[in-house]
Amino acid sequence: MRGVLKLLAKPFTDTVGLARWMLVIGVVITAAFIVCAVFAPWLAPYGFAQSAVDGTRFPKAGAPSGEHWFGTDRLFFDVLSRVIWGARTAIEVVILSILFCVVIGVPLGLVSGYFGGWPDRILVLVMDAIFAFPSFLLAIVFSFLLTGLFGGSVLAVALSLTAIYIPQYFRVVRNTTVSAKEATYVEAARAIGASDGVIMRRYLFGNVVQSVPVLATLNAADAILTLAGLGFLGLGIQSTDAAEWGHDLNRALADAGAGIWWTGLYPGLAIVLLVTGLTLVGEGLNETLNPTLRRRRLLPVVMPARESTTEEAR
């Protein structure tokens, strides 16, 4: 148990200065949003698509007040509740898409890099082609196709995000595999009779996935923006299916001219904060884990005072 805690705290205890504070601030912000996401039903005063309580309608586009801290919007929804529920949607989408990316991209990169040959070339070509596209455009196309298939659900948006981020995981894992498979320990594994599957699972996997966590946190920030962008364009999740910050911003667009600032400010603030938090975590982790950037914390060595001399001095 203590060992686990120590391991978890390692990025913190190992770093110093800017990297450390980036990591701390990032983790605090991100943790706050994760708490919101997990405990949304208890934290949010109302449901995300609730427009009345006990038969009384909420005011239409009502200003922030004691009952509605962040005010209400034109559809009578409580803005605070929607911001909190929106955290849940965002986190769900990001976790799902990263999960898909890791589950598909990592094994694909491993196999492709290990065996090489023409399947590898074709995969690299396809992934490069996806990578070369403007990612947002691609996300629009995919969510268009996938919402037709799954409806405007979290799953559809998560899958379209997966499609645009998978080349990164593939490339990172494939390239490290290509260099790692030349290592002597891989030949040594072959020399004891290990099959290709065993070599990939037990010898290469642990050595090539090390940069995936950093990639995942950095992508998470980007994914939030893409998700909000999709919502803003009206693609993806609809207001009544789930609360989505981007979609709320879109609806708030008309309010801005009428002096109704609260419908736009709070979802926007939520996006900015979560993206900042995730980016700080990613960059902080990068500085901690990447040996070319890392500055190790030097623990001062305190020598015990030499007893004999102190006694003499007395």
Binding site: T184, Y185, A188, A189, R190, A191, I192, G193, Y203, G206
Partner: protein
């Protein structure tokens, strides 16, 4: 210093290598491959015969690039065999399926040069050594643990409990090499291929590891193929020694015979290169000149002739040797002379295509000939000149013709077998 155990003279062959060749195709440029142009092959191992008897230690000795490691890897089927056979206990390793290869790899084990790289950094000692059992189908974790503990004890890593949970980065070089040995012997193999097992270790650890290998040989009834570039350790360790040069065995024989009567000029040069602890002796040993040649286009005739101090007329002299002779000559000239002579001789690049006739010169033929005569007069002992059959004047230069070379096979000479034109069938 421990002594070498008496040679085992059983005639029972464990591994029989017959006319083995391992060639690697060179990857040319994308364009060349598109047009199907062949980028050439490197003959890493080129027609090697070698028999390993039970309980014997055979040393493969040679410089970097001589193909000794490739030969060792071919024994386990780790490199694709181009032609020939590696016969292990009556079965051909080159023609084995996946399952058979896996079985063979529990009977022939390998120890690698660099212990720092031969262990997976993400595995503890217990997992790393136990994995050799796991891939061979030992599923019971308790059995694996027992045997791992036993193997680690055998290689002298005790107390074992201290090492089981360690990662390679926590161990010293010697300890890592012991772990590699434990992994190699855990499946009770009959043959151990040791690829320079001590060259990356500290001097103080080398003798201990060699002693460990001898102990293991005695206890486990092993046969060794010991690959090294260090003749001194081979003398201490091996029963027989095969000297390799550019993919071929140039001399093979009992260790005593090789050391007492080295025959091949390359063997002699290697023996002279052994460092001598006597400080009174200075360094003027005639080490082989130059570097080991490019294996993608080996010299004509005997591959060693460009570096050989006693080469004869029929050793395979050719155009490339003429080029290196000229270039070597120019290293001793001042810039002005070089410019003048260079202009006289003209472009030398076409000499890189190996041929027994070479045309050089872009000036008056008599002057080119005079230049060659001058170079010859400077060092008349240069073996290249024996190989020149005639120099004729031709247009604006001269044509140098060489004697047709001979590529010697391994022939018995005295107590050993030597591949050198100086040792024919009848000579001793």
């Amino acid at each position: 210093m421990p002594t070498k155990p008496e040679s085992v003279t059983g005639n029972d062959t464990v591994i029989d290598v017959r006319d083995l060749s391992v060639h690697f195709g060179l990857r040319g440029s994308t364009l060349a491959r598109l047009f199907g142009r062949d980028a050439g092959t490197v003959k890493a191992v080129d027609g090697v015969d070698l028999a390993l008897r039970r309980g014997e230690v055979v040393g493969l000795v040679g410089e970097s690039g001589s193909g000794k490691s490739t030969l060792g890897r071919a024994l386990l089927g780790l490199v694709p065999i181009t032609s020939g056979n590696v016969v292990f206990e009556g079965r051909d390793v080159g023609r084995m399926g996946r399952r058979e290869l896996r079985e063979v790899r529990s009977d022939i084990a390998m120890v690698f040069q660099d212990p720092n790289a031969a262990l997976n950094p993400a595995m503890t000692v217990e997992v790393a050594v136990g994995d050799a059992l796991r891939v061979q189908g030992v599923t019971s974790e308790t059995e694996r643990r027992e045997r791992v503990v036993d193997a680690l004890e055998r290689v002298g890593l005790s107390p074992v409990e201290l090492f089981l949970a360690k990662y390679p980065r926590d161990l010293s070089g010697g300890q890592k090499q012991r772990v590699v040995m434990a992994r190699a012997i855990i499946n009770s193999p009959t043959v151990l291929v040791a690829d320079e097992p001590i060259s990356m270790l500290d001097m103080s650890v080398r003798a201990k590891i060699l002693q460990l290998m001898l102990d293991l040989k005695r206890d486990l009834d092993l046969s060794y193929v010991y690959i090294t570039h260090d003749l001194a350790s081979a003398k201490f360790f091996c029963d027989r020694i095969a000297i390799m040069y550019l993919g071929r065995i140039v001399e093979i024989g009992d260790t005593e015979e090789i050391f007492a009567h080295p025959r091949h000029p390359y063997t002699r040069a290697l023996l002279k290169a052994i460092p001598d602890p006597d400080p009174a002796r200075s360094v003027p040993r005639d080490l082989p000149r130059g570097e080991i040649p490019d294996a993608a286009s080996p010299p004509l005739g005997c591959a060693f002739h460009p570096r050989c101090p006693v080469a004869t007329a029929t050793c395979g002299w050719e155009s490339r040797d003429l080029r290196s002779l000229l270039e070597e000559h120019w290293t001793r000239r001042d810039a002005e002379t070089y410019e003048r002579e260079r202009a006289l001789v003209g472009d030398l690049d076409h000499l890189d295509t190996p041929a027994t006739t070479a045309r050089i010169g872009s000036g008056p033929p008599d002057q080119v000939r005079a230049l060659l005569e001058r170079i010859r007069a400077e060092n008349p002992d240069e073996p290249l000149w024996q190989g020149v059959s005639e120099i004729t004047e031709d247009g604006s230069g001269v044509v140098v013709r060489f004697h047709e070379g001979e590529d010697p096979d391994l022939r018995p000479a005295g107590g050993a077998e030597v591949a050198c034109v100086l040792y024919g069938d009848d000579q001793g």
